[in-house]
Amino acid sequence: MRQFEYTAPQSTQQAVGLLGQNWAQAQILAGGTDLLALMKDDIEPPKRVVNIKHIPGLAGIQYNATGGLRIGALTKLSEVADNADVRRNYPMIAFAFDEAASPQIRYMATAGGNLCQRPRCWYFRNGFGLLAMKDGKSMVADGDNRYHAIIGNSGAAKFVTPSTIAPALIAHNAKVRIVGPGGQREIELAKFFRTPQSETEREHDLKTNEIVTEIIVPPISGVKTAQYEVRQKQAFDWPLSLASVALSMDGNTVKQATIVLGAVAPVPWVSQEAAQALAGKPINERTADAAGQAAVSIAKPLSRNTYKVQLTRVAVKRAILQAAGGQS
């Protein structure tokens, strides 16, 4: 590991001041479950590490029926997964947090850190850069892309978004609160994630001197939800594809559906096609499968990941059927 300066600010203001004008200058340390690995592998060697864990008020969960759910950025994944209010009112969010990583990592990793974790793309993690371009050509397109994007992959970015909690939060219309030198701002989580166009851009909207401080989930009622993850291993494995589904019902038919795909595009992918396919329909095997088909109708698999198209179709279908059979 390279040498770095370690800082432990006591307030967000201090922390923001310690962050730099570019990513190489300073990095935020929260749970550390991703940053440390990146530093050890020399993928992200920052000159300064800004440990935000000593800043009071950034951890904790608040819930009330009118205000909804607030998850502090430093809240551990395990705390969200185990929280009674979350489990009762947002079972899909509890599920997503509970299925992430391993128990040991869930006790260390934070909610904000999970959203900001870097892609697992093996070209990126092997030091070929986020977009893995070589002589103007994509190494991913020409190389082994079995785990890469099948949707939203026409540009240089072909990695997949790694967060498995983001799709569930987006399906609940969550926002994130961000603090920077100019103060505070809120942004829809769906818009927080971006597809970078160049190597200097990141896969999210955070500026180099900003910190995610809170996740805000609006109150809900009468929404049926479920997340389905296709994973090779039963535990501690990033999914090959996942779908998060939130359904507002009007009797037996779907009034409105939000269907978010994970692990298939550079960002958590809100599938308008799947939502439209389901709107006004009753839920059964056929309509669920049609929504799955619609979700992948725009898929353009790379040379080695055609199988992910089927996995995604099935993930959407199964998430819809589980949601319909589940709690509202």
Binding site: M139, G143, A235, Y307, Q310, L311
Partner: protein, 642 residues
């Protein structure tokens, strides 16, 4: 220079013979920056130019001579059905949880090296380090008490041990620790070669196998690699086979638990299962029908097949290819059989019986976590007639008598034989000393339950303590050896049989395979400790599930780098992926009297084949290559060839 262990002077001499291009200043600078010494850079600069010997592109393919047995052409003609298929097993790595590495302390004043290498070969390290380091082997003291996994990849000191030693010397003898990080461990510290084959099997309608034909290939890295023992276990009378080794610039192959056998099983047992499916025969009956081809272990296989059948409920649950029940999840059963040698290696030990009754054993072996200590202590305590707690066992040190490396399932046979002989020799010396005081001949004495008594007259006895006290001031020492041809019988033997069955569920919509249950029935001659023996088999099944479903060294076609040198994408089974495992060790008549035989390798041979066969039985089509990843399962289903 350290890295490839070629001394500078050799490089310089070679350069004096001439080189085929004139290096630029920039290139020379780069060489120097990359660690080439000044003398080498100088030699490179002044090397005479010589004519290139012309384009001599070495072919990466090395085709071995065709092997033929019997008359395969006639036998295929005679066959009533011919099954053809393609099968294979990918390159996997050893992925030792304790990575390769060493701690070295080379005191420049005394020229002594204190070496702690993560190794399977305590007695064999010093000899491998002496010449490259230019130091007598007797100056190297190697010791290690525990090792966190080797699986065949930790017999040598490796480059990093040499580097650590040299660095320590440069640092005035301070200990230098050099352990590979996970990436290096997966990239360079060993890989199991791949094996692929196109196979044709001829059968009669009654299930008799008539002929085998295979064209196989695989890579073990730069060296290419050797052929595989196919057809595996079944010595089909008429066969023709050809193997091509493919040299690749990937990490080098190394022995991986039961070298060549898991690949041979994956090719052979799957091809045979396909042949059985071709004629609609239960592979259990098919294997039994052809059991004569398995040779001298035939009776063992039959007994084990019957037990495995009971433990799995094979006959109740087996169905023809393709689970016809509704829903996307299909269930199936698969089986495989395997063999291994496992004769004990050379092993010496020292036994000391002290006048206070305590006993000490010294042996330069190692315990890979498999229960070697337990076995040695049990054998010694049994032979001496005392408790395990009275014996101090010292292993893992090159100062102790030489014992072989732990590879090829040779340890248990070696250490148990020499322990037994050492204990008997020491006891005989003790009995000779005390016999007069019991008014008996030494051969009339029995040592059992902490007592030494006259056979047939137990009232004439001494406690172990009393007996040892008669030694006076000096302890006695004895040695035990294996092999020891002057003291027959041979206590170790060779050749085991094993049967494994797998029950799997396959989600045909996602291609995800889950193992529901595995049954392993295994013999290994005389089992010394059933618990640690069974543990070996449990571990092998878990390792087998990993290589059947997950493990694969993935090389990038663009950069030539390994893409998954981490434990996210190099998956190993976790707790949740481990199903019900049923292990049955064969003991009793027909097994015990054969002597002690090694067990490390055999149970890891069959899981890949058994699981692959179960998947084929579940979904009705063969997924040709292991690991059985979702992309491969879906591709096989879409191709839909039965």
């Amino acid at each position: 220079m350290l890295d490839n262990q070629v001394p500078d002077r050799q490089v310089v001499e070679k350069l004096k013979e001439g080189i085929t291009f004139k290096p630029t200043e920039a290139q020379l600078k780069e060489f120097a920056a990359n660690g080439a010494s000044a003398t080498v850079v100088d030699a490179l600069k002044n090397a005479p130019l010589k004519q290139s010997e012309g384009p001599k592109v070495k072919s990466p393919y090395k085709r071995a001579a065709q092997q033929t047995q019997g008359d395969p052409d006639a036998a295929f003609k005679e066959a009533e059905a011919v099954s053809e298929g393609y099968y294979g097993a990918s390159v996997i790595t050893h992925c030792c949880l304790e990575t390769h590495g060493a701690v070295m302390a080379w005191d420049p004043k005394t020229n002594l090296i204190d070496a702690q290498v993560s190794t399977q070969n305590v007695s064999g390290i010093a000899g491998q380090m002496a010449q490259p380091l230019g130091i007598p082997a007797s100056n190297i003291h190697m010791h290690q008490q525990h090792v966190g996994g080797g699986f065949g990849s930790k017999f040598g000191p490796d480059r990093w041990s040499f580097v650590a030693a040299e660095l320590s010397k440069m640092a005035g003898g301070a200990p230098v620790k050099m352990m590979l990080d996970r990436r290096a461990e997966l990239e360079v510290a060993g890989a199991r070669p791949s094996a692929f084959a196109k196979v044709k099997v001829g059968v009669k309608k009654d299930g008799t196998i008539t002929a085998w034909e295979s064209s196989s290939w695989g890579t073990g890295g730069p060296g290419g690699g050797g052929a595989y023992p196919i057809p595996y276990v079944f010595d089909i009378p008429h066969q023709r086979k050809q193997h091509t080794a493919v040299a690749t610039n990937t990490g080098p192959g190394r022995a991986w638990r039961a070298p060549s056998h898991p690949q041979a099983a994956a090719i052979s047992m799957c091809a045979l299962e396909d042949a059985a499916a071709k004629i609609g025969m239960d592979p259990y009956d098919f294997f039994v029908k052809n059991i004569d081809f398995t040779g001298p272990r035939k009776k063992n296989y039959l007994e084990e097949l019957a037990i495995a059948n009971d433990l799995m409920g094979w006959k109740q649950n087996w169905h023809q290819r393709g689970d016809k029940t509704a829903g996307p999840v299909k269930r199936g059963l698969g089986l495989s059989i395997h063999t291994w040698g496992g004769r004990g290696h050379a092993s010496d030990c020292n036994f000391t019986i002290h006048p206070d009754g305590s006993v000490e054993i010294k042996m330069g072996t190692q315990d890979l976590g498999t229960g070697t200590r337990t076995a040695i202590l049990m054998v010694a305590a049994d032979a001496l007639g005392i408790g395990i707690d009275q014996i101090k066992l010292l292993i893992g040190d090159s100062n102790y008598p030489v014992s072989g490396g732990s590879g090829g399932s040779t340890t248990i046979g070696g250490v148990s034989s020499s322990s037994r002989r050492g204990a008997i020799n020491a006891l005989n010396m003790l009995l000779a000393k005390i016999a007069p005081s019991l008014n008996a001949k030494p051969e009339e004495l029995v040592s059992k339950g902490n007592k030494i008594y006259v056979s047939g007259d137990p009232s004439r006895s001494l406690t172990w303590q009393q007996a040892c006290a008669k030694l006076g001031a000096m302890p006695i020492t004895a040695t035990g050896k294996n092999p020891d041809r002057e003291h027959p019988p041979d206590l170790t033997n060779s050749g085991v049989a094993g049967v494994q069955m797998a029950d799997v569920s396959v989600d045909t919509d996602t291609g995800i395979v889950r193992v529901n249950k595995m049954v392993a029935v295994q013999d290994c001659g005389l089992v010394i400790n059933v618990k640690t023996a069974a543990s070996q088999v449990y571990g092998a099944l878990i390792m087998g599930i990993s290589y059947a479903l997950y493990e694969e060294k993935i090389m990038d076609p663009v950069s030539g780098r390994m893409l998954n040198p981490n434990m996210q994408f190099y998956r190993l089974a976790g707790y949740a992926d481990v199903p019900e495992l049923v292990v049955h060790m064969m003991t009793g008549p027909g097994y015990d009297e054969r002597g002690v035989i090694g067990l490390g390798e055999p149970p890891v041979v069959s899981p890949g084949a058994a699981i692959s066969n179960a998947v084929a039985n579940a979904i009705g089509v063969r997924v040709p290559e292991i690991p059985l990843t979702p992309d491969r399962v879906i591709a096989a289903l879409q191709k839909g060839v039965a």
